[in-house]
Symmetry: C2
Subunit: 307 residues, 2 copies
């Protein structure tokens, strides 16, 4: 058993590796990323650009399980669609094909995104909601989902795409993500800083803590799937209003932060109007969200406080 | 004004060119295909494989309108997914990008397919039905639809994807299409031959005559679209039961053909269980089907009888 994680030095990759270590994950772990990995981070470490000649074959050699997290993020992809096509589409399809070429079955877990649903969103979202992205990032995610579902249907790759919501709390670095405010609110309040959000207090988001997102990805690695199983899943997430989130963080931390709201219509439309979400297919397969806003806040604050 | 038609020597391409000639189409017409075109078929004729180096740029040089019909057909694509990826995905995306690189706006009409809806189909299909292909052909069609919608959203290409149903009657050649029976029934009955269909008498299909399909493609070239217009449309089609189609052809031709039914479960599932179809978005934009089974049959028989 050899589990490969791409994008391993990213925010979610690091949370995933930490969780695998905590679970005493069976078999060899190989981490792959362009930059940011150190020897000793795992059994095997590959500093590799997946767009380079031969890189995808190198990355998945011998793999029995692949978690493909590497991506060119949303805001950056919108500004540079050609790079998104190279990374988010072409390199991802090439990686899947390289994994499919193995002489043994390979479970391929693809970290997709709710960006496949475009703005404005319908009044509710469930497993039958049509995919209609309004960002290049979401377009490429949706295209890959279709390609992987076809590989799974053909029996060439045991692939599953799982659509993640806003995973919090990302570090405060410049990440190219327009949705950064959903993470920044945790950091600001944990540090007692005043903060102004680019959405209104009634803005709604779908959130999941990094710890629960990592568990969902690992569940996707292990869950039993057959020819009748859905191969594209929207993962459960808590739907929270920003004012409720602020109140829950304040209740947990006693933070003196003053929180202001200065709604940016574009950000509000893309990230602040998320309707009720039902995820029956993923629920049936055992995927779970954080359970409550209090548990979400607690998990996120613990992660922020960790060294 | 320069209109480029790819796949121009195919069944639908020929019907389209005939219709453009009948309409005294304005501007230059350039036909593109790998094989089968002759000098004199149009103002410009390019015998070109779109997969070759530089071919897509050559094909669309100076184009103001592109009708992209070239495709590796469904049954063949299922047997050779790598070739489908080269033709139906990679070359198509490259063609769209070459068209988008022009210094003037280009209307790009993509002949998509109802194959984007997989089997088994839901109880009814409308503009909100999720795309979930169960053939590699339909997968690549759906991926291209998404990519073109994003190019349109970005303002880089005035693209529209139109999903065609079963266009009849194709010639009786080996076409790689599993749906050939929908065309063969016309040829057999027009010739007074006995025929056995691979579906039952109550099998339902969505059909459109080649003449009306050509008109729909030309409507897609000319219809006014703006930033709010849908860029992926399921085109109207008549839903007909095979027994009703056989009766209508018999009534029109007085054919002595005996028609048998020997249902092949796979073909029946993929092509013989088409549910009621509503196409509100396309209807609103002025797209039309044949109107009645009698008119469909008449148009098809006229086309078969033509030299």
């Amino acid at each position: 058993m050899l589990t490969v994680i791409t994008g391993a030095s990213g925010f979610l990759g690091r949370a995933l590796v930490a969780r695998m270590r905590a679970l005493d994950w069976t078999g060899t772990i190989r981490l792959v990323d362009r930059v940011g990995l150190s020897e000793g981070d795992a059994d095997e470490v590959l500093n590799l650009d997946l767009g380079e000649e031969g890189a995808v074959e190198h990355a998945v050699t011998g793999a029995t399980h692949v978690l493909h997290l590497a991506a060119f993020p949303g805001g950056a992809a919108e500004a540079d669609p050609a790079q998104s096509e190279r990374v988010n589409l072409a390199a991802t399809l090439a990686l899947a094909k390289a994994a499919a070429a193995a002489p043994h079955p390979v479970r391929f877990v693809y970290a997709s995104s709710i960006a496949v649903f475009g703005a404005p969103l319908p009044a509710a979202i469930d497993d039958d909601t049509p995919v209609l992205p309004t960002m290049t990032y979401g377009t490429h995610k949706a295209m890959v989902e279709l390609a992987l579902a076809d590989l799974a249907r053909r029996g060439e790759l045991d692939a599953i795409s799982v659509r993640l919501s806003g995973v919090v709390a990302r570090p405060r670095a410049v990440s190219g993500l327009k949705s950064a405010f959903m993470s920044d609110i945790f950091h600001a309040m944990a540090g007692g800083e005043d903060v102004t959000l680019p959405v209104g207090p009634d803005a709604t988001a779908w959130l999941v803590s990094a710890a629960v997102a990592a568990d969902a990805l690992l569940h996707a690695v292990r869950v039993t799937l057959d020819v009748t199983s859905p191969r594209i899943l929207t993962l459960p997430a808590l739907r929270v209003a920003m004012a409720d989130l602020v109140a829950a963080i304040a209740a947990r931390t006693g933070s003196p932060s003053r929180v202001g709201y200065a709604s940016d219509p574009a950000i509000e439309a893309q990230f602040g109007r998320l309707p009720p979400l039902t995820t029956a297919a993923a629920d049936t397969l055992g995927f779970r969200h954080d359970g409550s806003i209090e548990q979400l806040v607690e998990r996120v604050l613990i992660a922020i406080a960790a060294p």
